[in-house]
């Protein structure tokens, strides 16, 4: 009976009202801002690359429309980046609505294709987040209560799918690591330390011992596997998100992956609630109060 009651309550919450519209809007704007900053920071490098790298045209009409901005690179690299940069800026200013969300997803797809040679997992994560962001529109467009209900439900489902997307990224990596002897023993960090072009030699040498290898490996495994369970717990949520933020800052520094670390850190914002931001504006630090 409690399960049935919980399901009914959950179903009702999906259609009653939009959940956390402010937090969702801030999340959306933050990932648009991330994409814009990346386009600007990588402009010179991608400009050079695009003078040599051909983007192949798909044969289908749908493919041609989907990748239309990417083909601007075959005319002039700066044209693509200027158009994408300008559109991202407009989307950032306008904020989430159906048109802006679809446009953002379209641009994220094109960025993933164009930046593929320069890419890591960050572009694919951005693309998937942008897909789930499409229904994140807080305005009511329909006078019909039925269509309004569908709109509310799609907003809430999108928010849940965004959250699950992040949880799955952690679960997938966590499960892979716990099945790996190199990770369980901590030796993975020895391999990483000797991975030229990844490990940052400025990372403090005090952490370069078998003890710290073991500790860091298990912190990583436990965090990735437990994130999906703890983040739904109202007492653990903010602590887990804070640990997640620290986790990604360490990845940024140690593994020289600023874009990957940044998109993962920003993706944690989807687990914040409107009340967290109101508290922040009220002068208290997020994570410093008990619910």
């Amino acid at each position: 009976m409690p399960v049935k009651h919980w399901i009914e309550k959950f179903e009702a919450s999906l259609t009653s009202t939009r959940r956390q519209p402010l937090a969702s809007k801030i999340f959306f704007k933050s990932i648009v801002c991330y994409a814009l900053v990346k386009v600007i920071l990588i402009w010179n490098v991608s400009n050079v690359m695009l003078q040599y790298h051909n983007i192949s045209l798909p044969r289908s009409l749908v493919g041609k429309i989907a990748l239309a901005p990417a083909f601007l690179t075959n005319i002039h690299p700066n044209l693509f980046q200027s158009v994408v940069g300008a559109l991202l800026l407009v989307i950032l200013i306008v904020g989430p609505n159906y048109i802006a969300n679809v446009a953002f997803c379209w641009l994220a797809l094109n960025l993933a294709v164009v930046y593929h040679p320069l890419g890591n997992g960050a572009d694919l994560i951005l693309l998937m987040l942008s897909v789930w962001c499409i229904p994140l529109d807080s305005k009511d467009y329909f006078s019909s209560s039925k269509l309004g209900t569908v709109q509310v439900a799609s907003f809430n489902v999108a928010r849940l799918l965004l959250q699950w997307q992040i949880i799955f990224v952690y679960m997938s990596s966590g499960l892979d690591k716990i099945l790996s002897e190199a990770w369980r023993s901590g030796q993975a960090f020895q391999f990483i330390r000797h991975f030229q072009g990844l490990y940052n030699p400025t990372f403090p040498s005090v952490f370069q011992t078998p003890f710290w290898d073991f500790v860091l490996a298990w912190v990583t495994i436990i965090f990735e596997l437990s994130f999906g369970a703890l983040v739904w717990n109202r007492f653990a949520r903010k602590k887990v998100l804070t640990i997640g933020l620290v986790f990604h800052i360490v990845i940024w520094w140690m593994l020289s992956l600023p874009d990957f670390a940044m998109i993962m850190a920003l993706s944690l914002l989807i687990f914040l609630e409107d009340a967290d931001y109101y508290l922040l504006v009220g002068g208290k630090r997020v994570g410093s109060y008990e619910l």
Binding site: E11, S16, N54, P117, F195, Q196
Partner: protein, 185 residues
């Protein structure tokens, strides 16, 4: 929201709940099935786009790949240089230069693409023409007689505390005889 829940709202709530349950179930099944077993295309799709990663896999952190470029000019060969690593070292000392972190990526991507091309067809391949143009105009930036590109894997051997090098390919050629990889309109 004080209006009574209509049958329609209940239906929408039920459908969305079931969709979420279905999505999560497929993702969990895709995660738990052995990685080399995908009975449905849906599982492959979920593994690629929903279960993005896994990151820092055991098999991927054991070796790094490197492209070394050397050129022949005035009767002698230059030292082979790993330009991507030079850019990476620059980034580690200047962490605000995010562009440097990705500066070597394109050459590495080109070399990686070439490692799947047959050696007998290598100079005709688009990947090679693009890489050659990039290497000459961006990395070497001078007229040379010949270019040598070496792509290798560097494995860290934990037991020995040393590296083992595997050469994936070596190619020496006259860059003037290679067509352009890309011509902008």
């Amino acid at each position: 929201m004080n209006e009574p829940r209509t049958a329609f709202r209940k239906l929408v709530g039920r459908i969305t709940f079931l969709l979420i349950v279905l999505h999560v179930s497929i993702a969990v099944i895709s995660l738990l099935l052995p990685q080399d077993y995908a009975p449905l295309k849906l599982i492959t799709f979920y593994r690629k786009y929903i279960l993005i990663g896994p990151f820092f896999q055991d098999k991927r952190i054991r070796h790094s790949t490197h492209l070394f470029v050397a050129y022949h000019k005035d009767g002698k060969w230059s030292d082979a240089r790993d330009y991507a690593n030079d850019d990476f070292v620059y980034y580690t000392n200047h962490p605000w230069r995010y562009d440097k972190l990705h500066a070597g990526d394109y050459a590495s991507y080109g070399a990686s693409s070439l490692s799947t091309v047959k050696q007998s067809n290598i100079q005709a391949s688009r990947a090679f023409r693009e890489l050659n143009q990039y290497v000459n105009e961006v990395l070497i930036r001078q007229q040379v007689d010949s270019v040598s590109i070496t792509y290798l894997k560097k494995h860290y051997l934990l037991e020995k505390g040393d590296f083992r090098l595997d050469t994936l390919f070596v190619h020496r050629y006259d860059p003037s005889k290679v067509d352009a990889g890309k011509t902008l309109d």
